[in-house]
Symmetry: C3
Subunit: 155 residues, 3 copies
């Protein structure tokens, strides 16, 4: 176990652990937001989900798509599309021995940008609020990928 | 290589490796399930996919959406949305030196809940079967996130 | 930090880092491809996105779905569904001490197959081009999962 403790004494890795856990936890709450709006708006994706609410003849009503629910779904999918590269590239970047302050700058910008992206998507704020938040997160991940490939390319 | 072997002698990490591989392999079979139902129901998302089946004039028929196919798609997306946080948080949790029996309890509950979720979604079982399976998996990931942040927060 | 440097002197892990970063960067460009086609075709998912282009009464026109945009979205989602298992299983496989040449074969085939998949999806090439590319990537990930579980199963 000695070297595992050593890994967790590495400050960059500990910082990555904290920020990755925070942003993944935020993403998980998008599922509960979808469930919340589905119940509030009474709009479901599956017949078995509205069984408690009413009879078969109301199927058409309950199976509609709803703007609010679809908006949460899109925000969730956008999270997935952006957080997966951050997780993969960020983990490898953290293990590549970067400067602590540079790494912290990357992690903080990404997490801040994605939280702002969710708020801008769900409120919604006028563009380019959401677009800028997306590009900050995108740029941070791209910058980590560039640093990794520049120093560690092995094909 | 010495310390890599050490990492793989760590029982929590080996257990995480096994359970993560099993649940990811299960998720991969959702792709083949989608392909199976698309071919069986002859319902496709792209014109080039039904080229072997018939002529252009049948496009409308082949490009319909189908309840069965859409159900598998939703189960697959729900897997992605839940397995990505489990992978990220679970990996970091495994490296944080948790108690072996606590870690095994988390991994087994998650994998069991997600397999039950898929069965409940595709059969489908009446609610709240699927909902409960979802919340067990969600709770397990949340519990690992909480333990990580409580012991290792570094912002 | 000694053992972190050791980790990065491990050739399999360095190779995984390079290939995973490349394929995740490729996936990130699917987001920009979607944005490009949305702007070019003037087809948006959210009312706030076309506010700069025109008035409310054109909402119906701007909120249509477009074949080209939906095709990029499907390619992106297919990437997510396949790259997530590769990332998780590939990382654990890299740490399990595999033979360098075997590992390189896996990584190169996967990255090549997924790049070809994207080209075949977006052009589009007639089937079975895309289908074969999908199954090569699927087979590579499955082969890594099998090797992991055969040598490291701990339940």
């Amino acid at each position: 176990m000695a070297h595992l403790n050593q890994l967790l004494e590495n400050e960059v890795f500990m910082a990555f652990t904290s920020y990755a856990t925070i942003i993944l936890t935020k993403m998980m709450f998008m599922s509960t937001a979808t469930a919340f709006y589905r119940l509030k708006r009474k709009v479901f994706a599956n017949p078995e989900d509205y069984a408690a609410f009413g009879k078969e003849e109301n199927a058409k009503k309950y199976l509609q798509t709803d703007d609010r629910v679809e908006r949460v779904r899109r925000a969730h999918l956008n999270d997935l599309e952006n957080i997966v590269p951050f997780l993969g590239i960020g983990l490898l970047y953290s293990l590549s021995g970067p400067d602590l302050s540079t790494a912290l700058l990357h992690f903080r910008l990404f997490v801040g940008a994605r939280i702002y992206h969710t708020i801008a998507y769900l409120t919604p704020f006028p563009q380019p609020n959401r677009g800028l938040a997306f590009f900050v997160g995108f740029g941070v991940t791209f910058s980590m990928a560039y640093r990794l490939l520049k120093s560690r390319l092995y094909l």
